[in-house]
Amino acid sequence: MLEWSMIAVGVMLCVALFLNLWRLLIGPHVVDRILALDTMYINSIALILLYGMYNGTQLYFEAALLIAMLGFVSSVAFGKYLLRGDIIE
């Protein structure tokens, strides 16, 4: 049962990633694209954790933590650039 539910959740996450990719491609404004990229970061954290659970290893936890931090920093950097024209003043 656990294996089947892991596969089902993996399919859900992949569908969610494709929907985010669609918004990233069609997004009418650049802020839409940043929002879609940030959501893709969060969904890929979930996918990596699920893959680690599926293999029964904890090795992927550090990768997920790194992606979480990089996602936050990159979204804030995009936002600051659009807001001020510069990232670090």
Partner: protein, 125 residues
């Protein structure tokens, strides 16, 4: 593995996956950016919380001792997701991204764009 532990992990995982999927469907379906900002920033944080709880229960059961370091990612995301959403909303407001027609109090946006930070008297003379 015990049946009830397996059931608990499955329920947590499927709850998390459904929330993530709902957040992404909201990102596609909703009408303008300010509404669209709502769906992924709340739903995916909650969904990822469910998946991380499931992972925590699974790893604790597998190793025989309590592992709580998945809570680190949950804590980090709970702190940073509102910051990201706030910065994106601010960027959208300053770039005058068009709103839906029936947005209430839309005339206050131009007032808010003129406001300065408290104590910032550089441009006032």
């Amino acid at each position: 593995m015990n049946f009830w532990v397996e059931l608990l992990i499955s329920v947590l995982l499927i709850l998390g996956g459904v929330f993530v999927l709902v957040g992404s469907i909201g990102l596609i379906r909703l009408k303008d950016l300010y509404v669209r900002l709502h769906a992924p920033t709340k739903a995916t944080t909650l969904g990822l919380g469910g998946i991380l709880l499931g992972s925590m229960v699974y790893m604790s059961h597998q190793h025989g001792y309590l592992t709580i370091h998945e809570l680190l990612i949950t804590l980090f995301l709970v702190i940073t997701a509102p910051v990201t959403a706030h910065i994106l909303a601010k960027v959208a407001m300053h770039h005058e991204v068009p709103m839906m027609k029936r947005t209430r109090n839309a005339e206050h946006v131009s007032t808010a764009r003129k406001q300065q930070a408290p104590g910032d008297t550089k441009d006032q003379d």
